[in-house]
């Protein structure tokens, strides 16, 4: 795969791993409720890079912004099956960042990572030939 594709895949994996670490971490008990909503933000930014990797590798296309990227997910045939999972991650990440008192339970955050993000990861890696980004 192209070097830029690999770079996006590495960043996607990194964000995905940070999200998993956040869920596993022993959180300072003074932070109540625990900040699981940030797993949605990290998970969304992992999804962004998986989608960027696909669009670059298959179409040599770089989305202009989040709206453009979401439109591509809904319209490009190889990504269309991901629109629900991608939209869910995007929506929850927005609420986590901008809406006061939005909260996410550990179980809900786990579902976002293990179901929604996992679907995006698996579909895109499969389309790219099972590519695992090289470690650098």
């Amino acid at each position: 795969v192209d070097a830029r594709t690999e770079s996006h895949l590495r960043t996607a994996r990194r964000n995905q791993e940070i999200a998993r670490v956040l869920l596993r971490a022993v959180v300072d008990p003074s932070i109540q409720p625990p900040p699981f909503e940030w797993a949605a933000v990290l998970g969304f930014y992992a999804a962004v890079h998986y989608v960027n990797a696909y669009l670059w590798e298959k179409l040599r296309y770089e989305p202009r912004d989040h709206d453009d990227r979401a439109r591509q997910v809904s319209r490009v045939s190889g990504l269309r099956s991901l629109d629900g999972a991608y939209g869910r991650l995007r929506g929850r990440a927005f609420l986590a960042r901008y809406k006061p008192e939005f909260r996410l339970s550990a179980a809900e955050a786990q579902t976002l990572l293990d179901v929604d993000l996992a679907q995006i990861e698996q579909t895109i890696l499969s389309a790219l030939g099972g590519t695992a980004p090289s470690q650098t």
Binding site: A70, S74, A85, R103
Partner: protein, 102 residues
């Protein structure tokens, strides 16, 4: 914001209302228009992940007739917010879109 764009937002909201009309979990729909994008605020009762995922997927129908639209959907329910009424999550200037057929 131009009147034309506000009309576009209303039309996108109206079409999305048609798309979610058969969804039993849906309680209301509001739309806010911005200079170059539209936000849809879909209020549901507490629901499961599969339903929420399906609702997010319905946005793709709007691109069929408006391929260049910038649409941002937020599916929200009262249980997502700690000690805050769902009404306060929706922007005050949002326009409510009726879910029933006119």
């Amino acid at each position: 914001m131009t009147l034309a764009y506000r009309a576009t937002a209303h039309e996108l909201g109206r079409r999305f209302a048609e798309a979610v009309r058969g969804e039993p979990a849906v309680r209301g729909l509001w739309v806010t228009s911005h200079r170059d994008y539209v936000e849809l605020w879909l209020v549901t009762e507490s629901t499961d992940a599969d339903t929420e995922r399906r609702l997010y997927g319905l946005v793709s129908r709007l691109y069929e007739r408006s391929p260049d639209a910038n649409v941002r959907l937020y599916v929200i329910s009262p249980d997502m917010f700690q000690g805050q009424a769902i009404d306060s999550v929706i922007p005050r200037r949002a326009e409510e879109i009726p879910l029933t057929a006119s």
